[in-house]
Symmetry: none
Subunit: 245 residues, 2 copies
């Protein structure tokens, strides 16, 4: 981060770096650092702040890097290609196989100067609305790191991040087709009893089947619905019995 004015932004950037698995923060001539605001906004990511390197020039900060991308709000930059976040991230990931890489962010109001941008191999611009383009620098850090992480994970082999396994099936016994068919027969019996079904195989029953098929997936689910149906039958029978008395 180059010449950052508000230390809160340094803290916020440190926090999202820690969230998303980065650790090496370099600060080029920050206006105030260390600072209480930075520590507060880091919200526990003080280790990133404590290990941060403070440098005099961007050249010094990126000296060991083989690939550097500078973030800019400009629609046109000179010298190096201007990429979208997706392309920038994929080049960064590719380059990181061969050496150190860096993402560079400028001062809040002015952004990176031409001299800074000249030090970068590529430039990246987060697409924003024309009528409200001013992106907070820590938000830009978050979005670009997120994009790098997203692509790193989606390219990675056999990565299980805990998502996308149907959570409804965890620790349950899946239902079989015939268990579901018994459920539908039970529903059909109750349907005739209460009069919401008329005739043998109604269109309504097919719709109910479709509705339940989406949500019911385990034996425990089947038991819930069958329990409900049984309680309805009992309530109706009790009413009828008292009517016969």
């Amino acid at each position: 981060m180059v010449e950052t004015t508000h230390p809160g932004n340094i803290g916020a950037a440190a926090r999202v770096m820690a969230n998303l698995g980065l650790a090496d923060l370099r600060l080029v001539r920050p206006r105030v650092f260390p600072a209480q605001d930075a520590t507060a906004r880091a919200a526990g990511a003080e280790h990133i702040l404590e290990q941060a390197t403070v440098c005099d020039t961007l050249e010094e900060a990126t000296a060991g890097c083989s690939f550097v991308i500078g973030a800019t709000a400009r629609r046109r930059t000179v010298g190096s290609p201007l990429l979208e976040p997706q392309n920038a991230a994929s080049r960064l990931i590719e380059a990181s196989r061969h050496g150190s890489t860096a993402l560079v962010f400028g001062q809040e109001a002015a952004g990176l100067t031409n001299e800074h941008l000249d030090l970068c191999h590529s430039h990246v611009r987060v697409g924003v609305e024309d009528d409200f383009p001013s992106l907070n620098v820590a938000t830009a850090v978050a979005i670009l790191i997120y994009e790098v992480r997203r692509q790193s994970y989606s390219h990675a082999p056999s990565e299980d991040n805990g998502c996308e396994i149907d959570p409804r099936l965890k620790g349950t016994v899946p239902m079989t087709v015939s268990e579901f068919e018994r459920l539908m027969e039970h529903l059909e019996r109750v349907g005739h009893r209460t009069g919401f079904l008329v005739g043998p195989r109604t269109r309504l029953l097919r719709k109910m089947r479709r509705l339940l098929r989406q949500g019911v997936c385990s034996q425990a689910d089947i038991n819930i619905i069958r329990g409900v149906l049984t309680s309805i039958e009992h309530t109706i029978e009790k009413g009828e019995a008292s009517g016969e008395r």
Copy 2:
């Protein structure tokens, strides 16, 4: 945003919404709002704050929505599928063709409660490091909106991109959150009547909610289930009336 503690986070969220082209911010019981911190962090996006709707409940805030995704830090949630940002964004984009959609964010420290998550059709978790998982809420807003925008633009214009339209929704009117909540209230009434529910808000009711949520997606679906419930009520009443005679 639900029960947001720090108004600065509301402002930061408003700013990134304006950057990325969203305008409709709804605040459920914010601790302080309007607030100087919110305005400061909005950095020019005051129009989003001024137009923001303050609501008493999440149900009220999402009443007109046909698809709602809740952001959570939990690795497991009950009831609805837990998605990664990419899948969450693509479902949101898809659903937005049929009706209003919402992304929901909880209180900074506690996140969304189970009751809030129950109101959502899906849940989303931004992948973070296990040893530093606490993502700032405005950062989560930024990442998820960025992901939605990224996909909207890359899939862009009106072309058949292989994204399947939910066949269940063809030619139907999507249900809203409040229509579904009325259905659950009807179910609860019948449940107490027949005795399958005991007490005010049982675990069983939550499970029923989950089962129905997966399958019920249109107003026609709602009408089917409510028709069934009404027929059960009538049958029970008839039995009781004959008992009283």
